[in-house]
């Protein structure tokens, strides 16, 4: 089932991330391969429907060589072509490098143990080597504008009278260049245009950013480039233009297939608009379209919601996100519920929708690879996976968050960075300083480990021993959690698993992860404080 080419076994993927993010890595070969591969500047091509064209161009290679996400395709129909525009040469460049992340392996696969062994071997070699790091990162671009405020959204967004797009574009480009230089990142593995409503931006802006990224670092042709699209602002022609600009994955904010609910949410589209956009998107980006569906809305009932999900299953692509509504302070829904003009969502019903929904998706062949994310045919979001694996990422645009070590400036400590929130101020700063970074918070080693724990457990694979060791080579998962009575109680309850593969939630545990973390995080903090003195010195 797995299409392993020479030197591109699944273990490559595991081993790819099996290196401490800041340790020197021998990767010259990979770099060379990547550098020598001709990179088609996809965003320069215009007027061409991107999906099919790229697909045909990459099909052969992808079939013959390692799929970058081998496990993703496990459930896919036999012989079905991977849709990602995969370039074999570039995949082989997947040598260990900081910021790279292990992609999710399937559960209970025969090769897992062997892969682990090989990965360990690779890691030892990596650790022994000395050489300049070649960091990778994901890149997030924030488009802060919307046509209308949605009643549930507390994101950093603005409803402008008019956007001086050229100025915004220029600032996005400048900031991307500055941060890439600062980070020393040499390879951008995914780009995500979020917002706001990035589908309101013109395709030329998207193209300009991608162009700049490729020039400042390197944006391989197979990098995932996602755009969040709003059904009303994304007619077919626009979608095609985005495709031509370099976007190769769409995330559609469909939210609901019930017009009354859409109205409650303050969305500007109807369920018909949504389905139409979805169909167009699938035509243009086959296998690369995701839809969001919300659950747990006020007054929403389980039965009707499941019918929505079933309808969606009949017409969706290979990726679905199910998001329970969170009432956020400062949103209209929050205010209405506070005032009592709207009934508060029932958490019991939401829990039931979630459980029924994830079961339904499982039966439909979707893998729940994260708390709210489901994919079949291996169509996971690489970009988001980076977040959950604590890979490096750069945040560009007003209020964008990033997490990377400014290696370009010689600093190897990872920082949490936040850009200036308000677009006008952000632009002023970018024009003055080349970037609008408002805060830089260095992450201690413990803080990074806490994030590895909290984010990693959101995924179905959880935290593998290898993954953990990249970040903390000395204190193993067993050392941290093995002896704790509280953890043992969670294991005995069957909501948490700790075994030869690593630490992860069970099906039931994933739904209550935040409760588990309240036991696990203090345990990690204690273990960290109680490290042997030699370990402390070694730090």
């Amino acid at each position: 089932e797995f299409l392993d080419g020479p030197g591109k076994s699944p273990s490559d993927r595991v081993q790819k991330g099996a290196v401490p993010p800041t340790s020197p890595v021998p990767c010259k070969g990979g770099q060379a391969a990547a550098a020598s591969a001709p990179v088609p500047s996809r965003w320069r091509r215009s007027g061409e429907a991107p999906g099919p064209a790229r697909r045909s161009g990459s099909r052969g290679g992808a079939r013959a060589h390692a799929a970058p996400l081998p496990s993703f395709r496990r459930r896919g129909p036999a012989g079905r072509a991977p849709r990602a525009p995969v370039r074999p040469g570039r995949v082989s460049a997947a040598s260990p490098s900081p910021g790279a992340v292990a992609l999710p392996g399937a559960r209970a696969r025969g090769w897992a143990a062997a892969a682990a062994a090989r990965a360990a071997q690779r890691r030892r070699r990596a650790e022994g080597a000395r050489g300049p790091p070649s960091p990778r990162a994901a890149l997030y671009v924030h488009w802060p504008y919307c046509e209308k405020r949605c009643s549930y959204c507390n994101f950093n967004k603005y409803i402008p009278r008019g956007v001086e797009e050229a100025a915004v574009r220029s600032c996005l480009v400048t900031e991307a260049q500055t941060l890439l230089r600062l980070s020393g990142v040499r390879r951008v593995e995914s780009v995500f245009f979020g917002g706001g409503t990035p589908s309101l931006a013109s395709p030329s802006t998207v193209a300009a950013v991608l162009e700049a990224v490729d020039q400042a670092a390197h944006l391989p042709a197979d990098s995932e480039v996602t755009l969040e699209a709003n059904p009303t602002s994304a007619p077919s022609s626009r979608l095609a233009a985005f495709g031509a600009a370099g976007v190769n994955r769409l995330s559609i904010g469909l939210q609901s297939l019930d017009d009354t609910e859409l109205q409650l949410l303050g969305r500007t589209h109807s369920s018909r608009d949504a389905l139409q956009t979805l169909a167009e998107a699938r035509r243009l980006f086959p296998g690369r379209v995701s839809v969001d569906l919300m659950l747990g809305l006020p007054a929403q009932q389980v039965g009707p919601w499941l019918r929505q999900l079933r309808t969606l299953l009949g017409c969706c692509d290979d990726h679905i996100s199910l998001y329970q509504l969170t009432l956020e302070r400062g949103t209209e829904l929050f205010t209405q519920v506070q005032r009592g003009t709207l009934s508060a969502p029932d958490p019991e019903l939401a829990a039931e929708m979630y459980q029924e929904g994830r079961a339904l998706l499982r039966d439909a062949g979707f893998r729940q690879y994260e708390v709210s994310n489901f994919a079949r045919n291996g169509a996971l979001s690489t970009h988001n996976w980076t977040y959950w694996q604590c890979g490096q990422y750069l945040g560009v645009g007003p209020g964008a968050h990033g997490r990377f070590a400014p290696q370009g400036a010689g600093d190897h400590t990872r920082e949490a960075r936040i850009q200036t929130l308000e677009p006008d101020n952000w632009m002023k700063e970018v024009m003055l300083f080349g970037h609008g970074t408002r805060r830089r918070i260095p992450l201690s080693k413990l803080e990074l480990l806490e994030e590895v724990l909290a984010m990693g457990l959101r995924t179905d694979v959880g935290i593998t021993h290898q993954h953990w060791q990249q970040f903390e080579p000395q204190l193993s998962l067993w050392d941290v959690f093995g002896a704790s009575q509280e953890v043992k109680a969670l294991l005995a309850q069957g909501i948490l698993l700790l075994d030869h593969r690593g630490l992860r939630c069970s099906w039931e545990g994933l739904a209550v992860l935040d409760s588990l973390l309240l036991t696990l995080l203090p345990r990690l903090q204690d273990a960290w404080q109680q490290r042997a003195p030699s370990l402390v010195q070694g730090e």
Partner: protein
Amino acid sequence: MWTPAGRGRWHGRALRLWAAATARRGPPESGPAPTRAAAAAAGTPRSPDGPADRKEKIDMSRFSVENTRNFSIIAHVDHGKSTLADRLLELTGAIDKTKNNKQVLDKLQVERERGITVKAQTASLFYNCEGKQYLLNLIDTPGHVDFSYEVSRSLSACQGVLLVVDANEGIQAQTVANFFLAFEAQLSVIPVINKIDLKNADPERVEKQIEKVFDIPRNECIKISAKLGTNVERVLQAVIERIPPPKVHRKNSLKALVFDSTFDQYRGVIANVALFDGMVSKGDKIVSAHTKKTYEVNEVGVLNPNEQPTHKLYAGQVGYLIAGMKDVTEAQIGDTLYLHKQPVEPLPGFKSAKPMVFAGMYPIDQSEYNNLKSAVEKLTINDSSVTVHRDSSLALGAGWRLGFLGLLHMEVFNQRLEQEYNASVILTTPTVPYKAVLSSAKLIKEYREKEITIINPAQFPDKSKVTEYLEPVVLGTIITPDEYIGKVMMLCQARRAVQKNMMYIDQNRVMLKYLFPLNEIVVDFYDSLKSLSSGYASFDYEDAGYQTAELVKMDILLNGNIVEELVTIVHKDKAHSVGKVICERLKDSLPRQLFEIAIQAAIGSKIIARETVKAYRKNVLAKCYGGDITRKMKLLKRQAEGKKKLRKIGNIEVPKDAFIKVLRTQSDK
């Protein structure tokens, strides 16, 4: 008693209940104006304003007993007691008329909620009437039945009272309670109908009420507007005409009643005294009849209303005395002072403070324990009636079990802690002192008494050890417009009250008397009464001893483990409903956990109520991407930190505020 540590006597007095020393009635310390007025009135030579002037001492021997009147003002809240006092002081020149003497007291919320009267001020007024110099002593009384003992002591220094009634609102519950206190003390009662200037004033109706309820002829009522000063002079005349002079003897040896005391940081205890016999001056050696301790008098004087030193105080007069007492417990209210080696029969009626309401008090954060401790000490130095026992709770940490005279007393104490000492505290549900009569000689020997008082539910003796349990009862007076009678009676019945009396005080107002178990009114009775009567019913109560009661100890269990903090003593008939309420409240305040929690109320092994907290089915942030991580980590760490502070009962983690929610607002419906 309630006194701030401030030295300004006048406003100190005015604010004694009210803690916050922000409202200033006049200038701090004695301003020149009152002194001058006093000096002029007393016929002493006038001298220029200035500190030296204040050292001039008044010769109190000029005021004969025949020309002395001692009286109090009693009233329901907001009926105008303080405004009238202001006018009387102005009329007699004790305070300057040009000053803005409007009642500007900084009232605590609790006052409005509970309907308590602002304390008047003790002041000696010098008044000229038909060529005679009169000494009119206006004696302070606390305005609430929580302080009825203090009121009775203050009244025992008087021969008459002004009973102030609002011309609009008419007689209220507290008017009745106050009247009977005065009546029992055989004092002359001068009814004063106030606020006749109000648009809806109906003084005739109030006259009729007074006639009906108090049996005082209508023509004895004085109709005034204290606000405008209308007819206030007539009040002073009535005091002279209708109130008899005190029956005392200067020739006898000193017999003085302590009717109040305050604590001054620099001078120690300042005792307010009324002389029944003899005289006292600086240098005298005096003895407390209660403690038998001897003191040397440093200073005597009158309150005018500020402290005004005098050479002497004579029988029939009222003033203050400083004698090197270091602690207010050395000058307890009701105590008798006499001259060293000249003992007298102590005045009757002395009692030590008897707390009627007990509650646990804990710092919100244990790190605040020492600050709170010092605040409690500072407050109790002025209030000997608060009893303090150290206590500790597994959930709430180290704290105290405090005893108060009543609910109001407790709330005032708590508000003073918060306002004056900026201390945030957890106050547990108040309980009342139950009693148990022990059944065997062996037990009596063990407990050293036959009847034991239980102030902490954890110490409740098992039924096998006792012949009977007793609970404190009070006689409550409710005055309500008759349209609310039905609801009021239902409320009283639900509180296990027994009706003792009912009468119409006019065409549409009814006075009801009920015997209430104290614990039934201790939490939310007053609020319920006010809300069901749209605020029109008034309530007051007085101590009525103990009655037998079928009491049981109720445990609260979480998955089978007893929660010690929530052990409750409850009447058998109320156990089910109280248990249900506690279980429901716990259910609402216990966070879900990864397993189901059974909350049960039990008497012995019998479960009488149950609620279930279901296990968490979903608790995970839906969206967690690049921009959400920082916030999520912060939240998780804060929650994890909070979890460390949780009290573990079995494997259940209970946040402190879950206890607080149950303990604080638990109401027995």
